[in-house]
């Protein structure tokens, strides 16, 4: 039987509405000058790349037009390992990154990256700010089937990860108002924790209970090394947890620059993962039985998602439905845990009358960002720690959260608990 909380998802959703409303109302301060400076720099870069492309082709070509790029690639007789046909039919990132090193392709990829940065973030955000330079996004709880929050006008959920250069560049432009600091908190390895809890896999639970790292453990079990194959181990963990196939894992490896493994190796890794954590496979089978019987799947808090495609006869659709279901149970449960933390936080702010000290700003991916009076960082951080800790206390395994603070979102420094 799937594990079930005593809390009911609809109550959680209702309770966090005022907090989301606060985030919407408060917005987040934007450093307009930073975005302006970056825009000029990037536009200069773009024009330089454009000149190089035109020089390479011998005439003007628009790198943003996929039709023109595809025609050019075929003219140069280039082939991509990620293209299903001999001829290149698309100019998306996957296809282009599968082409052997070629100056034209590299230039186009670079152009597209900068163009996307400009159009999606750098020029868009300053255009949407209010008279006080605050950016207000519109959140919705009903748009995503997993129950996660989605944001629009502008979409803040698609900001690249803070680990990438682009992510850092954009985050640097989100700042705290004078006299305040940004306070960020997120759950560490939240999805892995939920996988361990929901599947009940003893190995995984023991590693987490003893404070170990699951990626290190996987690396040790599969590769027999420590910290040498962390990247592939991490990809195996997150992929296999959601029922990835050997083809998809191989493709993922190549996209991420891990090229030394074949498809057969990938199958071996998957098998070894299941040998290392046997109850994960059982859990996936349990979900399969559940959706076959009921036509839907539910998360730990009882929220449901219909999976009608499980009734399709084709193997591909069946596998995709199963992946969707497994993914849903973990992601959706994580999302509701975050909602619980948000509603707990709202109650604490309300009860302690902290409206002027601690202000909810935004929620991006699994990060919650607030701004707090600079003199009250420690006190506010403790409030956040408690809210996150008390969001789910049903299990022996306690969730860990990580906090950061700073003036700019891009340069936050880790805080102790």
């Amino acid at each position: 039987m799937l594990k079930q909380s005593k809390l009911f998802f609809a109550d959680i959703d209702s309770a966090c509405i005022p907090f989301i409303n606060e985030m919407h109302k408060n917005g987040i301060l934007i450093d307009k000058e930073h975005f302006k400076k970056i825009e000029i720099q990037l536009l200069n870069k773009l024009s330089k790349i454009q000149i190089k492309i035109d020089k390479y082709c011998g005439h003007h070509i628009n790198p943003a037009s996929s039709d023109q790029v595809v025609a050019k690639l075929n003219e140069y007789n280039l082939t991509s390992v990620n293209s299903e046909t001999d001829q290149i039919t698309s100019a998306d990132h996957d296809t282009l990154s599968g082409i052997d090193s070629n100056e034209f392709v590299e230039l186009v990829i670079k152009y597209k990256q900068i163009d996307k940065l400009l159009s999606t973030y750098i020029t868009k955000y300053p255009a949407l700010i209010d008279e006080n330079n605050f950016l207000h996004t519109e959140y919705s709880q009903a748009r995503v089937e997993t129950g996660r929050l989605s944001s629009a006008r502008p979409n803040l959920q698609n900001i690249p990860s803070g680990k990438t250069e682009e992510g850092k560049l954009i985050r640097y432009g989100f700042i705290a108002e004078p006299g305040f600091d940004l306070l960020q908190r997120d759950y560490s390895a939240q999805e892995i924790y939920w996988t361990a809890i929901l599947s009940g896999d003893p190995t995984m639970l023991n590693v987490l209970l003893s404070g170990g790292d699951i990626h290190d453990n996987t690396e040790m079990k599969i590769f027999g090394t420590c910290k040498k194959h962390r990247k592939p181990s991490k990809m195996i963990n997150f992929g296999v947890m959601y029922g990835i196939s050997k083809y998809a894992l191989h493709r993922k490896f190549i996209t991420e620059g891990v090229t030394q493994f074949s498809q057969n190796d990938c199958q071996t890794f998957i098998d070894e993962f299941y040998n290392a954590y046997p109850l994960i496979r059982t859990y996936i089978r349990m979900i399969e039985q559940f959706i076959k019987r009921y036509g839907y799947i539910q998360n730990y808090y009882g929220h449901r998602r219909r999976i009608p495609e499980i009734k399709l006869k084709s193997k591909r659709s069946h596998a995709s439905a199963l992946r969707k279901a497994v993914n849903y149970t973990i992601q959706s449960t994580s999302a509701f845990q975050m909602k619980l933390a948000m509603s707990a936080l709202y109650d604490l702010i309300n009860s302690d009358c902290l409206y002027d000290i601690l202000k909810p700003r935004m929620q991006v991916h699994d990060e919650l960002i607030l701004s707090c009076r600079s003199s009250e960082i420690e006190h506010c951080n403790q409030i956040l720690v408690n809210a996150f800790k008390n969001a789910c206390t049903d299990f022996e395994l306690k969730f860990k959260s990580e906090g950061k603070a700073g003036k700019r979102w891009g340069t936050l420094k880790t805080l102790g608990d």
Binding site: A10, D13, S14, N21, Q141, A142, Y296
Partner: protein
Amino acid sequence: MKIAYIEDFRHSYADLCFFGYTSDVMINFKNVILPLAGLNVFKLNPFHLWNFKSPQDRELYPNQIKAGFKQLKSMLKRKQFDYIIAAGKGINIALESPEPLIMQSGIPYISKHLPDSLILPTFPGNKWQFSDKILLQVFKDYTNFGEYIKFNIRKPTIPGEIDNSIEISKVEDLKDYLNKGFDHIAIDTEFDENKVPFSLQFSINGIKGVFIHADSTKVLTELNHQLHKNNPKLIIHHSLVDLPMMEKLGIDYNKNIKDTMLMAAYQGNIPKGLKALAYRLLNIKMLNYNEVVRTVQNKLAIEYLNKLSEIEFPNLPEQMIYKKIDKNDIWEHLAPYRPQNLNTRINKLIWKYSGYPGEYIEKDIYEIQKKIIRKKLNIRSVQKKRFPQLWKLVSDEDTLKEFDEQKQTILEKYSGDLEIDLAYKWKIMDNKDQAIEALGEMPIASLKHVDRKLAVKYSGTDAIVTYKIYFFLKQLLNNYYRGFKNC
């Protein structure tokens, strides 16, 4: 009784196909899966990723494809079913292209293609009710199934509009109205495009709607006081939009929120919009915002356009576009393209609304002369710039004669339609920067421009329906999630 059950199955745009189950005492069970053919492809396959008419794409379902949709339609016609249960949006579009509201209503209709059958449109919400157990009923127990239809599918009714809203502008009136207390209240707000609130309306019984204008601040303060005093469940459709507006109006009560849009999302297979839900679940046809403001909007728009038509705009500069020249998608030189003059486009928009004045403009003369040359010489390319000698062949007499022949067509084309949405037509028009530079943006009408009675009726209905839909959804969700009993 002969029944056909057909459902479309789609989990992505690529995977649309139809399952058909036909049953009656004479015919054995049949199972056909049909590809998308002869349908409004744009609606179902908006990105044109798949061409279901091509053999490669049909290979997606190599063993299942039995026939195209046309065959299904003719089969249905031949068998003369009493009822056709059309489960899903795709099959409903296929059988008939009714208005979207009717599509969502679940109210039976007769398709022009299948005059002998009553089509019972059901949607994914009902699809799962029909699955397994119900299908067994279809195939084994016709009597019970007939009963099922009787009780579960509503007969066609004339959708009624609710007109039971009042405006309260005095504190005493509000106190009187709320003196008995209340445990549920549905609240809705109206605001303009700049998010300035216009009104707040509420319902405490699902029968009557109460409208409070944003200017009645004392009444709003009293309402806020009453909310804190009674501590009711606050029913809102899309609370994240209405809560900020309520705060702007001075209502800071945000406890016990029950969001009906979220509830519709929990059900997972019904529309989330209030109007669609009202029509489908409650059989209430609500007024559309555009319909309410259109008359006023068109008046504002025509004033704006008339002012614009007096200005003479210069011709737009020639634009360069790429052109594909052969089947292998090889790109040719840039092709020149001249956008139509703004005056011409503005005039055409005015004629569409107020009718054609009967005088031809230069562009029409050009078009007509082009037609004459094409007719005379039987050639396609007759551009005046490239072949000026051809234009010498056209006499004024010929042009006038052709004018008279064409006049009726043009008059019909621009016959004037007061229902036309000028603001929308203007919004989607491109290359209008010159006009915006000259006169600014087109003024947008909102509820404040509309007759107050109509505004009260429109807004009050929203609150009434939100109240009603909450209890309906609660009951619906209770069948799906047991926990909703205590919610």
